[in-house]
Symmetry: C2
Amino acid sequence: MSKSIVALSGGIGGAKLATGLAQICNSEELVIIANTGDDFEHFGLKVCPDIDTLIYTLAGVNNSEMGWGRDGETWSFMAAMSELGGDTWFNLGDKDLAQNVLRTTQLHSGKSLSEVSEYLAGQLGVSVQIIPMSDETVSTTIETADGMIEFQQYFVRDQCKPVVKDIVFRGIEVARPAPKFLDLLNSDDVAAFVICPSNPYLSIDPMLSLPGVRDGLRNNNAPVIAVSPIVCGDSLKGPTAKIMAELGVPCSATQIAEHYKGLIDGLIIDSSDAALSEDISSMSISVKNVNTVMYSQEDRAALARGVLDFAKQLA
Amino acid sequence: MSKSIVALSGGIGGAKLATGLAQICNSEELVIIANTGDDFEHFGLKVCPDIDTLIYTLAGVNNSEMGWGRDGETWSFMAAMSELGGDTWFNLGDKDLAQNVLRTTQLHSGKSLSEVSEYLAGQLGVSVQIIPMSDETVSTTIETADGMIEFQQYFVRDQCKPVVKDIVFRGIEVARPAPKFLDLLNSDDVAAFVICPSNPYLSIDPMLSLPGVRDGLRNNNAPVIAVSPIVCGDSLKGPTAKIMAELGVPCSATQIAEHYKGLIDGLIIDSSDAALSEDISSMSISVKNVNTVMYSQEDRAALARGVLDFAKQLA
């Protein structure tokens, strides 16, 4: 069996590259580590947005129009919830609800989040392994001018409008990487660790902040490659650029290199940012310029191929 | 303010008479006590079939085709649950799910079932009071030849096929009638207690078996009137007749009188059963013959009028 490709991913942007990797890797080679800092409890249900985005996208049942949730979704639950005066700021589609209800039931019965995620992915026909970063709860919390708010309140309820002063991963000190993630960090059979073009602060940092993960990545012989989520000084989707401005850092691929400096061996930046290559190389980070904007399945596979070629080059 | 009419009701049959009473009573006069022995936990949710049938029916949002659940219901949740390999023997519609999720959330936040039921009924525009028989859990359990099974497993999963040897109300010894139910039992302001034409064994007995309820009904000056769910030796709906046969008792309105003997002052039986009046009267139970089969809203109101006239006569 070939060595594993281990991709660290948040939601939408990461899931695009993950599907690209899934197209060109054998399913047993590819492992996706999902951010769970966005997870929260809503209506007593354990909601895991990034895990589910990855499962739905890799299963091909994601809702590409909305950019999240399931295809062919219906909304009767939310309509009735509104009629009953319940909370409606977080949309849970009727089909998506089944995923969340079943996950919650299985967690209550004593299964780990790793086990439940594997089960749910399997039921939807996903053969690639999707592993939560941790089986313990880590809650991304946003410090704003008006105080601390939970990630989903910031992201969904408040539509990323509050100014971010700091980002805190509650529970991170006592959380452990999920067993399979830990095994991979300590394994000689990894071909590359790939940091997907997800939000570094909200989606990737929770994973890197888990005890042992940075050291594990540094000590592992496999190259660590990141794909910049910043193209031409802006984020393609989501609040990355806005957050970088609020945190007082320049919004550029160079800053992404700065952020991951000391951890990554290589950074893939968009061809349009080729002029930044020299600055990034000066941080002892190898640079590769390719098209990183993924509109089509072909774009995703092409970027994935670029990542794997780069990994071989750096191995 | 007039005295209260207090109706003890199970699901569908009881809800029909309850809507009849709601048509002719002022809403502040009418109180429905709902059986909660059928309640159970499913997918971690507190499901209360009789409370919800009463709320939906009185709100006019019940599904009259199915005979249970909500109108205009959709089934995406169940379809996705099936796809995910979860339990599908108990159907929860997408809109119905909102009712169950919100109830569960509110119960977990510390509200009583009485408070939650009042809230949910109010949100759907029901002004009549619907009170659970108890805020504590009582679980109707069926002893069959193959052992004990939970009520919903018997009723829904096994479609009432197992032979009933006994019916046990687990938790009944330590449950108390809900505070408002207890107040009514001890009140001088009740015009009549009405036992709806629900299944005596499955829907009414749980209420009567709560500590203090039989004594409360006997000691209260208000007349207690039952409406027979048996017409011409058969039950109109549900497993009443089948259960009576399995319990070794004749299936007749006379047997209903026998069952409630010592508790009720009057029994309303269907006109077609008029020949049984003498036998029933010999048990010191007054009898009234009317049409008890409710096809239309007019039938419901007419039976309700018959009940209230009978109550005045017996007061």
